[in-house]
């Protein structure tokens, strides 16, 4: 049985993808923000698919301390129950913040949650992904176009805007996927970013203030059900030979920003390693 880990799996796209993958016979490990959300999500999935193989772990992934704790738990679980193989890691967790807010490290929260959390969790789980010749999938957004990484102020301390922070973090998702392919494609690992499109989820209504909340409440009405983007994740997990593209929308490759360059990908990779206090090259990789 193939194992998949999905972060942000208690609602929206993550929950729907988790459900679909259990139906395809995957063993799904969800990560959610709170234990109560995790319990509810598990109930929902089991109500729709009583045979689902589903387990949840809870962690506030934007906090590195929490991420390390849950990574330890996940490693233990994978080793004991999944033959230490991880077929896919879906770094789906993401959020929007109306205001400049920081994590315990003093990092801006959208950057920390939408990008760094996936960067660090992938690092921790890479040996398991490699063993399964697995895939890493990021939840991106087409809003990554028309923005550059603010290299001199990635935390946007000098002028925070919720949308700028969001777009930048989504550009980072593609840059990270590219960097992973460049480094580990030869080891049989494939990384992708999915553009889910405009989806009816509550991403803009959590921990946001009046304006962002209001705009998102109007905007999400135009959105599609999370079932639609979930298909793309299933597609990327299911294909026998790994699809060769980087950026997918509705199960098809899509054009991405010109900012997705080798130079930017390497630069973000180095910066992220520094901010997480890790070195991917320290991982022992078997070629």
């Amino acid at each position: 049985m193939k194992t998949v880990i999905i972060t942000g799996a208690t609602s929206g796209i993550g929950l729907e993808t988790a459900l679909k993958l259990t139906r395809k016979g995957y063993s799904v490990i969800g990560v959610g923000h709170s234990q109560s959300n995790c319990d509810k999500a598990k109930e929902q999935i089991l109500a729709k698919n009583p045979k689902a193989k589903i387990i949840y772990f809870s962690a506030e992934l934007m906090q590195q301390r929490e991420l390390k704790r849950v990574a330890d738990e996940l490693e233990k679980y994978l080793s004991e129950h999944c033959n230490a193989e991880l077929h896919a890691l879906i770094n789906n967790v993401g959020g929007v913040r109306s205001w400049y807010q920081t994590t315990e490290e003093g990092y801006e929260q959208q950057f920390a949650l939408n990008h760094l959390a996936g960067f660090m969790l992938t690092y921790r789980l890479l040996p398991y992904i490699e063993k399964a010749l697995g895939r890493v999938i990021m939840t991106g957004s087409n809003s990554h176009k028309g923005i550059k990484v603010h290299w001199n102020d990635v935390m946007l301390k000098e002028g925070y805007n919720p949308l700028t922070a969001y777009k930048q973090s989504k550009l980072c998702n593609i840059l990270f996927a590219k960097a992973l392919n460049d480094r580990y494609g030869g080891n049989g690992i494939s990384a992708y970013t999915v553009d889910p499109g405009l989806v009816k989820t509550n991403i803009g209504n959590k921990q946001t203030g009046g304006l962002v909340n209001f705009i998102w409440s109007l905007r999400k009405r135009q959105g599609v059900s999370p079932e639609i983007p979930a298909e793309t994740y299933v597609y990327l997990c299911e294909r026998e030979s790994a699809p060769s593209g980087l950026y997918y929308y509705l199960c098809r490759e899509r054009d991405f920003s010109k900012e997705v360059t080798q130079e930017n990908a390497d630069r973000l990779f180095a910066l992220s390693e520094r901010l997480c206090g890790i070195k991917y090259s320290d991982l022992v990789t078997e070629l």
């Binding site: 906090q63 590195q64 301390r65 109306s98 205001w99 400049y100 807010q101 920081t102 994590t103 315990e104 490290e105 003093g106 990092y107 935390m155 946007l156 301390k157 000098e158 002028g159 925070y160 921990q207 946001t208 203030g209 009046g210 304006l211 909340n213 520094r274 901010l275 206090g277």
Partner: protein, 268 residues
């Protein structure tokens, strides 16, 4: 520049620590939350490559403060700036709060601030200017029903800061009082802002801007910083209108906001 920040692992403390680190200052950070301090130390060192020292301390406890001071003295550390950020409030009216919690507000916001301010002024770097920042609040400008203890504790700090600034002017000490409105530092603070509706939104200050402007104003030798045009206007009303009248208006505003907020909190 050697800077001590109290309450460093809270939202405003972290923002000011990042601001100071970005300017290349050496930081001595203290807080009661040790894990938060270590995370922040990691984050600042990785992001800015500055020298950061941390020490857990309960500022309301004399012994805990003395222990920290002995570490400071053993290492011969002296300071050029103290940012008094540590402070707290508990939600709910006076009688709805626990007795100990009401007293704790004063122990931390007032007593502990005096304790550490006295100690660090005694350890200022010789022959250099010294800067002192007190975090008061927009709440210090008027008597605030339902936040009576908190507002009065902040009023103490505002008055104290102004007087101390005068007292120490000749000794090259600059004192700044920061009076922010709402700051989106925690999920609770954000739901509180949301519950106040329009007024919550317009009195909320941008954390990153407050952090930047605070340090800028310290260097310019300002004595008072009220962030935001709306808040400055409100503070003007605070000076012009009778205090009993203002207290009545604020009561009306907060009683509805608080019931809404506590209801929201209960749901989430």
């Amino acid at each position: 520049m050697n800077v001590m920040i109290t309450g460093a692992s809270g939202g405003l403390g972290r923002a000011l620590a990042a601001e100071c680190a970005g300017r290349g200052y050496n930081l001595f950070l203290t807080d009661i939350n040790e894990e938060g301090l270590l995370s922040l130390q990691n984050g600042l060192e990785r992001q800015y490559g500055v020298c950061v020292t941390t020490r857990k301390c309960d500022l309301t406890n004399d012994k805990s403060v003395d222990e920290m001071l002995s570490v400071i003295d053993q290492n011969g550390i002296s300071f050029d700036m103290l940012l008094n950020i540590a402070g707290m409030d508990f939600e709910g009216g006076f009688l709805e709060r626990e007795r100990e919690n009401v007293v704790k507000i004063v122990s931390l916001n007032v007593e502990a601030t005096l304790r550490i301010t006295h100690a660090i002024l005694k350890r200022r770097r010789a022959g250099r200017a010294f800067s002192l920042v007190f975090v008061s609040s927009l709440a210090s400008l008027y008597p605030m029903p339902l936040k009576a203890t908190y507002a009065a504790s902040k009023r103490f700090l505002s008055d104290f800061a102004l007087a101390l600034g005068q007292e120490l002017k000749s000794q090259n000490v600059k004192v700044l009082t920061l009076c922010p409105g709402g700051l989106a530092t925690t999920p609770e603070a954000i739901s509180g802002i949301a519950a106040q509706g329009f007024w919550g939104e317009v009195t909320t200050n941008k954390l990153e801007a407050v952090a930047f402007n605070t340090i800028e104003r310290v260097h310019r030798g300002k004595s008072l910083y009220i962030p935001g045009a709306v808040n400055r206007t409100l503070s003007l009303f605070g000076k012009l209108l009778p205090r009993s009248f203002i207290a009545a208006i604020i009561y009306k505003r907060w009683i509805s906001a608080q019931s809404k907020w506590l209801c929201l909190e209960g749901k989430s």
